[in-house]
Amino acid sequence: MDFALSEEARLMAGAVAGLLADSCTTAQLRALLARGDSFDRDRWGRLVAMGLPGALVPEAAGGLGLPPADFAPLAEACGAALLPEPLVEMAGITLPLLAEAGERVLLARALAGEATVALVHPRAPFALHAARAAAVVLVEPSRIRLAPTGALRITPRESLDPFRPIAEVAAAEGAETLAEGTAAAALSARAADRGALWSAAQMLGMGQRCIDLAAAFVQGRHQFGRPVGSFQAVKHHLASAQVRVELARPVLAAASAQSPGAGPATAARIAHAKLACGTAAEAAACAAIQVHGAMGYSWEVDLHFHLKRILALSAAWGTPAELRATVATRIFAAPPGPETLFPEEDARG
C-alpha cells in the first residue's frame, strides 16, 4: 500500500515541467496564437526527443513502457502549462491503442516524430489537430479503423479553446480495419478509460495553476490600502478551491494505479476521478476569475484559456452525467467499504 511515485517518475515529471516552463510560457502561447497557429514544431520536437509520445507504449513496440501512474503527473504538467500540442492525447490514448491493436508502421513514424495521429471515439467525437495529422483512428461502436488523412473528409469546426483545433471527420472508404467485435470493444473501453483519466489529470493541473495565479495576483493587488488577499472573503474563495483540488488528487492517483479497461470498478474509479478533478478545476478557475475582479474577465489574464480547456475536457471522454451514472452503478452494486476502496481488478501501478 504505497501512494508514492517512483524516483524515475519524479525525475521524468520534473524534466517535463522544466521543458514546459522553458518552452510553453504564456508569451510563447500568445505569440503562437497571434500567428494563427496552435502547433509549435520546435516544442513538439523537444517532447519527441524525450520519447514522450511513446510514454505508455510498451518497450517492445518502441515506447518507454511507463506504468500509467507515472504518466499522470506528466499529463497534469501539460494541463497546467496549457500545452497546445496533442501530446497527452497521442501518448495517453492514441498510440497505446495502435500498439495494442498490433499496428506498427504508423506507430513507429509517430514515435520518431515523423507523424501525428488523431482519433475520434464515441466519447470524443471531435478530432484534435486532424488537419496536420498523417492519419486518424476511427473508433466506432463495432470496429476500429485507421485512415490516412488524405482519404478523409475533415471539416474544421470553431473551437472554444483556441489552442485546441477540432474537426469533424467523415467516415472513410477503404480505411484499414484494426479490430472488430469484442476485440474492438475492449480496445474502445481502454481508450475511454484512458481518455477520461488523462483529461482528469490535465484538469487537475489547470485547477492548481488557476489557484496559484490567483494567489499571486491577490497578494499584489491593493484596495482599501491593503492587499486584497488579506481579506477573508478572498482567502476563503481560494481556500475552498484548494480543498477541492487537494481532495481530487488522491482519487486521480488511485485511478491512475488501475489498469485501464480492467472492469467496472476501474471505470467507476476513473469516472470518479474525472468528476472530482473536473468540478474542482472548474470551481478553481471560476474562483480565480472572481478574485481577479474585472481583470479576471479580460482576455489579458490567462485564466480564460484554462477555463475554456477545462470546459472542453469536462465534456469530452464522458460528460458529468455519464460519469455519474457509471459511478452510481458501482456505488449501488458495491457500497463504500474496505472491500471496494482499492478495487482488485489489477491495482498494480
Binding site: F3, P227, K235, H236, P250, R324, G337, P338
Partner: protein, 381 residues
C-alpha cells in the same frame, strides 16, 4: 505506487474482524454523554479493547499498544466501524493527548499517563476554550501560578467534551502572567476531582450533556503535570490540534460506514428522487475521496513526511461532507424525518452532531484562513 494490501495486512484485517465479531456488544451501548451509566459502559468497553490489546494499535507495546504503522491503523478503524463497535469515550485522551505525550512528554510522564489511558482507567477531557477564547484561542486567561514545586490553577474553561464524567483534563494556562497572546502559555494536566474544580454540564443541541464548563479556583497540581517547557504550551497545542484535525480523530472509516448506510437506506427507499440519489452518490464518492486522501497521507508519513496545514484542508472536507451526507439521509426519510424513534432518530442525531464538525477543532472559517495563509501564502488579515 502499489495500491494493494500485503498478505500481512490482509491477515491483520482478518484478525481484527474476528476479534470484533466475538467482542462487540450486540446491542448499542447507551450514550456516554447522556448518563453516568452510559459513560461507565463505554469505560468497560475500553477495558475490553485493552485486554485484546486493541485500544491503541499504533502505540508502542510498552504503553499497551502493538507498535503498528498507520496503514494498519486505518485497516483497524475500517474493521472497527464496520463491526458497529462503540464510540471511543476516551478519544480526547487516546487520539489527542496520547500522541502529544508521545512527542513532547518525558519518559516519566509517558509511563505515568499512557498505560492508564490505554486501559480506560483515566478518561480525558480537553480544557482549552474559555468564554472569551474560542476561535481566538490565544486570548486564554486561565492562570497557572507557580507555588513551590507546583502550580495553582485558576480560571474558567468551557466547551470541554466528556468533562461531565471524565477523570482528567489537559488545559492551556498562562504561566507567565505578564505575557500576551500565544506567548507565556503552558499545557498542564489536572485531575477533575481535585479540590477547587467545579464542573457544570452544558446541555447541547441534542439534549445531552456532551460538554461542560470547568471553574477552577486555586487547583493545586505538581509541576510534573506540565507537558513541555513553560511557555511552550501554544506550540504543543498546535501540534495536538493537527492530530485532532488530521487523521486520528476522524478516521475515514467513520464516513465510509456512514456512506454505506446511506446507500443502503437509499436502495430500500421506494421512489427516491433522482436529485436525492445524486446526492447519495456524491456522499459516497466524497467518503471514498477522503479515505484515499488519508491513505495517501499515511503512506507519505510512513516515508518520513509530516502533516502541516493540509490537516486544516482535510478537516474542512470531512466536516462539510458529513453535514451533506446526513442531510441527504434526512431527505430520504421524507415526512418520517421528525420521528424521534428507530432508524430515523439515529440519522437525525447524526445530522445534529454533524453540525458540530465545522465548529470544533477550530471553525472552518479559521481553517480556511490557515489554508490561505500557510498553503497559498496570502497575507494575514
Amino acid at each position: 505506487m502499489d495500491l494493494r494490501y500485503t498478505p500481512a495486512q490482509r491477515a491483520f484485517r482478518a484478525e481484527v474482524r474476528a476479534w470484533m465479531a466475538a467482542h462487540v456488544p450486540a446491542a448499542p451501548l447507551p450514550s456516554f454523554d447522556a448518563s453516568r451509566a452510559g459513560f461507565e459502559a463505554h469505560r468497560a468497553w475500553e477495558r475490553t479493547l485493552h485486554e485484546g490489546r486493541w485500544s491503541m494499535v499504533t502505540w508502542p507495546e510498552a504503553y499497551g499498544g502493538r507498535g503498528l504503522d498507520l496503514i494498519r491503523w486505518l485497516i483497524f478503524e475500517e474493521e472497527y466501524w464496520a463491526a458497529g463497535a462503540p464510540l471511543r469515550v476516551n478519544q480526547n485522551g487516546i487520539f489527542l493527548l496520547g500522541p502529544t505525550l508521545m512527542e513532547f512528554g518525558t519518559a516519566e510522564q509517558k509511563a505515568r499517563f499512557l498505560p492508564p489511558m490505554a486501559r480506560g482507567e483515566e478518561i480525558w477531557a480537553q480544557a482549552w476554550s474559555e468564554p472569551q477564547a474560542g476561535s481566538d484561542l490565544a486570548a486564554v486567561r486561565a492562570r497557572a501560578v507557580r507555588d513551590g514545586n507546583g502550580y495553582r490553577l485558576s480560571g474558567h474553561k468551557i466547551w470541554s467534551s466528556r468533562a461531565a464524567w471524565a477523570d482528567w483534563a489537559f488545559g492551556l494556562f498562562r504561566t507567565d502572567l505578564a505575557s500576551e497572546r500565544h506567548h507565556g502559555l503552558s499545557l498542564i494536566l489536572f485531575p477533575l476531582d481535585a479540590p477547587g474544580v467545579t464542573r457544570r454540564p452544558i446541555r447541547q443541541i441534542d439534549g445531552e450533556t456532551g460538554f461542560a464548563e470547568l471553574l477552577l479556583e486555586d487547583v493545586a497540581v505538581p509541576a510534573s503535570n506540565r507537558i513541555g517547557a513553560e511557555g511552550e504550551g501554544w506550540r504543543i497545542c498546535m501540534a495536538t490540534a493537527g492530530f485532532e484535525r488530521g487523521l486520528m480523530l476522524r478516521s475515514p472509516a467513520r464516513f465510509q460506514t456512514a456512506a454505506r448506510r446511506l446507500v443502503e437506506l437509499c436502495a430500500r427507499t421506494p421512489h427516491a428522487p433522482a436529485a436525492t440519489r445524486e446526492a447519495v452518490v456524491q456522499a459516497a464518492m466524497d467518503a471514498e475521496a477522503y479515505a484515499l486522501a488519508i491513505y495517501a497521507t499515511a503512506s507519505r508519513l510512513a516515508a518520513g513526511g509530516r502533516i502541516g496545514a493540509e490537516a486544516s484542508l482535510t478537516k474542512i472536507f470531512w466536516s462539510e461532507m458529513d453535514v451533506a451526507l446526513h442531510r441527504t439521509a434526512l431527505d430520504l426519510l421524507g415526512p418520517c424525518l421528525e420521528l424521534r424513534e428507530g432508524e430515523g432518530a439515529a440519522w437525525l442525531d447524526g445530522f445534529l452532531f454533524s453540525l458540530a464538525g465545522p465548529i470544533y477543532a477550530g471553525t472552518n472559517e479559521i481553517q480556511r484562513n490557515i489554508v490561505a495563509e500557510r498553503m497559498l501564502g496570502l497575507p494575514r488579515g
